[in-house]
Symmetry: C2
Subunit: 236 residues, 2 copies
């Protein structure tokens, strides 16, 4: 991990949002590194497949891919994604209640790992596909959280010159789908389901937000689903 | 990990500073939980022994002790503590250059883990034995870093009611030794060496700062050293 010409690290869970973040970063930077976190989530096997396919698509060399184990988040629990005794929340429409899929302080872990790695490989930018408005209401997806994070990085690193970038934080899921098409991002490799490893369930919070985005964009999601309910509503 | 009556989590590396932080927390709170991080550092075997002895001393039940694996920090490297090909910096007196023992963004990882755990077990305070003035000059030991961290926690958690406390950040090593004695903390269980697992080397940066503290306090450090140079100087 001693390359010094990497410009940006992209956090790639394998979902559609992180794919679009990678597509935006790939357009702007020649030398990317991709980071994926295994925190003992239900769908890690499937996510890792997506991560690898996305990394292959953007021609990121193997030595610039880092998969880290943070299964202490499973030890700690408190989320339906890591605790099999808690049900994954089904989509509840416009509810702003934080769903059971919330993993306590998760994004701080993945960003902190990216910052440690960035310090070593010399990257100055960290891209994350966090989405605020059209999201599940997680506190670590708010713009104010990322302002606070960038301030922490300035205070907590020797040079203070690493920055987290949230290129799609203000987009709706519909706009994210449109952006993916515009950038010719390989949507077929992305996977957003919280529940199943074989094919997307279509009913968890994450599937519902994704399917609604495609529906509003008038596009068919190319990945396989167990069921594809209609989630569309009049655009606000 | 479902206890809800824990008041505070203490980060216990096993060194003298974290011991004194635990002693201060134990005086203030009845129900403590202790957290230790294995990041692939050279002296983890010895640190874990200290962690266990300190936890036993303060009668922290086993289910309130959490040892987490963050050996991705060793994968990432960039520090003499995790990369055996980099020499551990010897004490250089008043130099403010960051020594090779600096682990990129390390304290953010341990604090983020504590915050995730605190959310699940209901703890509101997180104690860390960070020391600023009389330290190695790590950026993640500055008071401004902890202000930024507390701001991040407010923005990044659902309730925003968890706080990091740095009870010894302004103390000198001499004052930390005096505080340990005052609180009857079991100094003999603590271990600060960065280099060796069998007995403290006496010459790494961490040993030097500790030995100087004891010297200035006029106390003999009860733990075993390979060598005990004199580091004292006129107190400023």
């Amino acid at each position: 991990m001693k390359e010094r010409d990497v410009e940006a690290i992209v956090l790639v869970s394998g979902g559609m949002d992180s794919l679009v973040a990678a597509a935006i970063a790939a357009k702007k930077h020649k030398q990317l590194a991709l980071l994926h976190m295994n925190y003992g989530q239900r769908t890690e096997a499937r996510e890792l497949k997506s991560f690898t396919e996305i990394a292959d698509f953007y021609k990121v060399p193997v030595q610039r891919r880092l998969v880290v184990d943070t299964t202490f988040l499973k030890q700690i629990g408190g989320s339906s994604l890591t605790d099999m005794s808690i049900d994954v929340t089904k989509y509840k429409g416009e509810s702003k209640e934080i769903p059971s899929s919330y993993v306590p302080f998760r994004n701080t872990h993945i960003i902190a790992i990216a910052v440690s790695w960035a310090e070593v490989i010399g990257a100055k930018k960290i891209y994350i596909g966090a989405v605020h408005e059209d999201s599940s209401g997680y506190p670590d997806c708010r713009p104010s959280y990322y302002q606070a994070m960038n301030n922490l990085i300035r205070e907590g690193t020797p040079k203070g010159d690493i920055e987290v970038i949230t290129p799609i934080i203000s987009l709706s899921k519909k706009e994210i789908v449109q952006k993916a098409l515009e950038l010719k991002a390989p949507i077929e490799f992305s996977y957003s389901c919280y529940e199943r490893n074989d094919k997307a369930c279509g009913i968890c919070d994450s599937c519902a937000l994704r399917l609604r985005g495609f529906e509003l964009a008038g596009i068919t999601d190319p990945i396989e689903y167990v069921t594809r309910p209609l989630y569309g509503k009049k655009e606000s």
